[in-house]
Every structure is written in C-alpha cells, then in structure tokens.
C-alpha cells in the first residue's frame, strides 16, 4: 500500500481524468442539479458517499463473481449494490436533511444510473485495483465530481444575471460553459507525475 500509487490514483481521479470533464460520465445530474450552489454541494457529497461505499462494497462482490466464474453477472450485481445504496441514502436524507431531499428531487434516484458511479466500479475491476486503491479511487472520483459541480454551479449562478442572446438564455449557455470548462480540464491530461 505505497502512498505514491494512491496519490497517483487520487490526482488522476480529481484532475487528469475527472469523471465529469474528462471522461464525460455522470453528466445528467451534473447538468440538472447545478442551478444552485447548495443543491450542487449536497449532490456532490451524496455522490462522494455513494461512490466511496459502492467501490468498497463492490470489491468483495467482484471477488465472489470471479471465483464462481460469473463474469457476465458483473453489471447486474454492481448496479444492484449501487441501487440499494442510493435508496439507503434517499431514506437517510429524507429523515436527516429534508430540505436537501426536496431540493435534489428526481436527481437523487438518478445517482443510481449515474454513469460515474457504475463507471468507477467497472474501472476498479478493469484496472485491477486492490481494496484500498478502489476505495480511494471511488472517494477521489466523487471529490472530482464535487469539484466540477461546485465550479460549474458558481459559474451558472452568475450566468443568471448575464444577458446572452435571447435564444441562448438558460440551458444552452450553461452547456457552452460546460464545454469550455471541459476544454480547460483537457489541459490537465499532460500532467504526469515524475516518479
């Protein structure tokens, strides 16, 4: 468990291939929830929690599937774990933070189909990470999601007051901004850790 690989994974997940702006996974909630900063931060932390726990839970499930030679069951099993986790988060939020629960609305169940969450779990398997590495990848992947959605929400709140051409008002200008943000994040791809 050397720190260098963990740091390498963390840096990769947050900056180099950020789940939203570099790998383009999980765009639906990213677009839907980023209108206001508080829901964006709420969604960001919910995703960190779900991604971290999903990576942790899916690792043993993957071992089980491989030993029994059930490789084709991978998607179904992983998505079942994620769905149960999201349903758990939904009940927890409804009890503990009802305002955030109402604000997230339909986008909370959509975390289940969030490509980023299933993406991180499948990437853990593909890259052959061990338990610690996959959990770190999950949490830092969620942190990358949080970074992207907070940046985007702050820009979007300012967009309300700018006056783009009438046709671009609202969602199109947000999309174009997201495109430009993705362009900047491509700059990180050259980032290589020297050791």
């Amino acid at each position: 468990m050397e720190w260098t690989t963990l740091f390498d994974i963390a840096l990769g997940a947050i900056l180099i291939n950020n789940f939203i702006l570099a790998q383009f996974l999980g765009i639906c909630p990213f677009m839907g929830v980023s209108k206001k900063m508080d829901t964006a931060v709420g969604m960001g932390f919910a995703v960190i929690f779900v991604m971290g726990l999903a990576s942790a839970l899916c690792y043993p499930v993957n071992l089980l599937l491989n030993n029994l030679g059930l490789k084709y069951m991978q998607t179904v099993a992983f998505i079942l774990v994620i769905a149960a986790l999201v349903q758990f988060v939904e009940m927890f939020l409804k009890k503990a933070i009802p305002t955030l629960y109402q604000a997230l609305g339909v986008y909370l169940p959509l975390i289940t189909t969030n490509c980023a969450v299933l993406g991180v779990v499948l990437l853990n398997v593909q890259n052959g990470y061990n338990f610690i590495e996959s959990v770190v990848y999950g949490i830092t992947g969620g942190a990358g999601f949080l970074l992207a959605i907070v940046l985007f929400a702050s820009i979007r709140e300012r967009l309300e007051f700018a006056d783009p051409p009438k046709a671009f008002k609202g969602f199109p200008i947000a999309l174009v901004t997201a495109g430009l943000m993705a362009l900047c994040f491509m700059g990180f791809q050259g980032l290589k850790i020297p050791w």
Binding site: F24, I27, L80, K166, F171, P172, M186
Partner: protein
C-alpha cells in the same frame, strides 16, 4: 392515452435530451459518427420500450421502499440478456452495437421514464411512451452526430465530403458535444420563441 399527444411530447415538448436533460452521457460521448448515433438510438428505443412494459407490468408488486433497486435490476438484467443474445446469434449487429449496449444500463432515460411514467401507467401507454421518447432521443442523436461527423471529421456517414485537414477535430471530442448540443437547444428555443411570437 392518445398517441399523437405522446408522440408530440416525446419529440418536442418533453424531448428527453433537449427538455428533460436526460441521457446526456451517451448523447455527448457516442454521437461522433452517424452509424454510432443510429445504433445507439435504435438500441435505446428498443430497450426503453421493452423495459417500460416490464416495469409497468410489475408496478403493483413493487413496494415504495425498494422501487429503485427493483427497477434497475430488471433493466440491467434485461440489457445483459439482450447483449448476450446479440453477441451469440447476431454477431455482425453486435459488432456495431456491441459497445453501446452495456452503456444503456447507465442511461438515465430508462430509469427516469420508469420512475416517472411507466410505474404509474398501464403497459400499453408505457410502451407507446417508450417508443415516443426513444424516437425523440434518436432524432436528437441523429442531428447531433450528423453535425459532429460532418464538421468534426469531414465525412458524412463514412463518405468523405471534404479533406480531413480542414476538419475541426475538436468537435469529435466530447467537448464539441457540449457545444453542439448547446447550439442545438438554442436553435430549438429560438424556433419555439419565433413560433410562439408568430401566433
């Protein structure tokens, strides 16, 4: 339950991508060539319709507390079965669509339609809704991939239109996806405002 309304809803007023902001991941990532666009659109339409029917059949048995888990297991199981069958019996189709099918499991449209529509209506309207939403989705994918392939790679469905040096490669990257989709929605809002303004 009239088909016309649902069709209009699926294509224009409630278009899954342009209005409900769903299915963005595949829309941005896949629409680099027209064949990809058609392939993805067709497979999503088929699977969306069939999963809508399945879920609306099961809607009475599934309790509120585990509804997401049940829906997604049905959808994932369904998609995997289609994937395996395609790979075994139609290898050439699997060759072109193979990469999209696993992606469909995480396509937000399917669970969103299941959660908001199919779980509340009888199988027939759910099926029609699946078809209409699927068509709306395919339409957007087609337009998107036409633009991105033409400008991004200089070819139209494989046939070269202008030499590759002049192509704006950036459009082939998902970054271009954001920009193309943004302009597409702006165009749609402009047309809607003109139509509303005109009346």
């Amino acid at each position: 339950m009239n088909i016309g309304k649902q069709l209009k809803e699926g294509l224009v007023t409630q278009n899954p991508v342009l209005v409900q902001l769903l299915g963005m991941c595949s829309t941005l990532a896949i629409t680099t060539t027209i064949s990809n666009g058609i392939g993805m659109g067709v497979s999503v339409t088929i699977i969306l319709t069939l999963s809508n029917i399945f879920i609306s059949l099961l809607r009475k048995f599934i309790p509120e507390q585990v509804r997401i888990a049940c829906y997604i297991v049905v959808i994932a199981g369904f998609v995997t079965m289609v994937d395996l069958l395609l790979q075994a019996f139609f290898p050439d189709i699997a060759e072109s669509l193979g990469v999209f099918i696993p992606l469909i499991v995480v396509n937000c449209i399917i669970l969103a339609r299941a959660e908001s529509f199919a779980s509340k209506s009888k199988p027939l309207p759910a099926a029609i809704d699946g078809i209409c939403q699927g068509l709306g989705y395919t339409m957007v994918l087609l337009v998107m991939s036409a633009i991105r392939e033409l400008l991004g790679a200089g070819t139209f469905n494989g046939a070269r239109v202008f030499p590759a040096e002049y192509a704006a490669n950036m459009l082939a990257l998902p970054v271009g996806g954001f920009l193309t989709l943004g302009c597409l929605i702006a165009l749609m809002q402009y047309i809607q405002r003109k139509v509303k303004g005109g009346k």
